[in-house]
């Protein structure tokens, strides 16, 4: 589907991306994580040719996008804000976009507008942040792209709207096999949607992982002790998620029998093994250093 080969980009003398390679397959939802300024948005803008890479190539179905920009009819980029939409109503935007994207499905767009009860007569700028995101998504999906690039799609919206926005994306992938490349600070959103994730850190894409496999690697253990064992646990470099009095919650790799034995030797009064979520995995994997 989309393939990034050895992509590098410097902006105003600062290296933002260096030799980044990534492939996203059909129907895949890929979550791109990274701190502010790590180059997530730059990567999306490079794919969409808003800016040009200093080196490297971007291929869509084997076709280089830079040389054949028409293939962008299959790729939609939804930025955090889209000032172009501001002065138009839904109908006007449809009128513009259907002339640019030949596969634009007006019936499907209308159906989604009705389903999510988005006002059709208001100008885009008059809508709330959540409705703006939903309208942008509706227009993006109605263009029938094969790949959607979403930059922080759940940023600044409430929990209910976020749920709707995420559901819209999940439905689209399920129904049409659309691929999605999504950047987000919210690990819970990434966890809910993505098949694979990757980290942009120090100009490079690192830790590209399958999400389910990743979660299977770790186990969360809740324990209660008679004595203070905090120092003993830390000395073993075991990531501690929480400590409340005599209760301790730690994370260890499922296969790490040595650490498990060590904890058992501390004679806990309570021992509960629980599944982990993505945030906890990251604390374990990166030594408690929060990177998002």
């Amino acid at each position: 589907m989309i393939e990034l080969r050895q992509l590098s980009k410097a902006i105003d003398g600062n290296q933002v991306l260096k030799d980044v390679s990534l492939t996203i397959e059909k129907g895949e939802i890929f979550g791109l994580l990274g701190r502010n300024g790590s180059g997530k948005t730059t990567m999306l803008r490079l794919i969409q040719q808003i800016i040009f890479a200093d080196s490297g190539t971007i291929l869509f179905d084997g076709v280089e996008i830079k040389k054949h920009p028409k293939v962008k009819q299959n790729i939609i980029y939804m930025p955090v804000q889209n000032p172009f939409y501001d002065k138009y109503t839904y109908k006007q935007l449809v009128d513009i976009l259907r002339r640019i994207y030949p596969k634009f499905d007006v019936t499907y767009a209308n159906e989604l507008m009705n389903r999510y009860e988005i006002p059709e007569t208001k100008k885009y700028r008059e809508l709330s942040t959540g409705l703006k995101k939903q309208l942008s998504l509706v227009l993006s999906f109605a263009a029938r792209p094969a790949l959607i690039l979403l930059d922080e799609p759940t940023d600044g919206i409430d929990a209910v709207t976020r749920h709707d926005v995420l559901q819209l994306m999940v439905d689209e992938v399920a129904e049409r096999d659309t691929s999605i490349l999504i950047t987000s600070h919210r690990l819970e959103d990434i966890e809910r949607m993505c098949n694979r994730i990757g980290f942009l850190e120090d100009n490079s894409l690192t830790n590209v992982m399958d999400l389910d496999e990743l979660k299977e690697e770790y186990i969360k253990i809740q324990m209660a002790f008679d004595t203070d064992v905090n120092l003993a646990i830390r000395e073993q470099n075991i990531p501690m998620l929480d400590q409340a009095g005599v209760f301790y919650t730690v994370l260890i790799p499922k296969s790490d029998e040595e650490k498990k034995s060590f904890l058992r030797e501390l004679k806990p009064k309570v021992w509960n093994e629980l599944p982990v979520n993505l945030e906890e995995v990251f604390i374990a994997k990166f030594g408690g250093k929060r990177r998002w």
Partner: protein, 328 residues
Amino acid sequence: MVDRGLLYREWKQNQVVILLSIAFLVLANPLSIVNTYLSYQGCLDRQDPQYCDFIVNYSISNLIDINWVPGVILAVCFLGMERSKGTMDFILSLPYNRSQIFQTKFWLGGFVIVLSQLIGFLLAWLLILVYNPEHVYFFEHSSIGVIVISFMAFSLVMAAGALTGNAFAQLLTAFSAAILPYLIIALPVGNLEVVFGANIWEIFPSPESYFSLASNLSNLVPISYVVNEWLINSKYLLLIPAVMSMLFYLIGFISFKKLPSERNGHFFLWNRLDRPVQILVMAFGILGFGLFGYYTGHSIIGYILGMIIGAVAGFFVSYFSIYKKTKV
């Protein structure tokens, strides 16, 4: 070359300014004639007919002399405003290459400017037939000339827009380019006159040859075409703005294709222009203010003081306009 979808987007984005430009450019020429006719009728009502002439003379100040203004406004809306408002990213994300985007913008503006004025010219011609004035001076020359000049103004501001990252920078660059030959030639010459205490025309065989050269050089200054003195010269003089239009088009086209768009909001899209242009601005500030200082009191102290003020002003103006990014 020009895609329909892209053309429609440009039309929707700039609908109001395009319609107003068309309205002005179509009506300016016929309204000038109507205005002359009404003045003539007013004269007939007030005075004896023997003292009233119905003469249409385009060498006298005319509404079409400002037909270049819509060209400038269109170019700023097409590029500078798009960059300043942050809507340029949306266009660049669409399934078109940069050549198509520039061509669509350029030729949409070009057609608005040329076709509207041709319609205006036709309407004016019909009015002349209907009103049948006693004399018509410079009608074709002026009407066609302002089309060329407004197209040149549009091309110049489009080229400036392709080089710069916001509307203010676009206008400032276009204005600077419009007076650049003057800045490069006349300012240094004026300063040399002050330093050596001589008049430059004295080294010419005759004052006439000096003024002839100065006049010819002024034809290379784009801003000189804002006033209609070109009307009294040969019609072939209009070849200069026509060639300039092509040159500006090429500069705009290549710049739009090649320059990095991640610097939207900055003064120049190509950051290597920052330092040389800052040095140029300071040099012009020193030379310009120096001359001004000298001519206020005809003293060397005034000249030196002017240069110091020019250096400081040039530094700050260039620093704040070139190096400070506008919020996008």
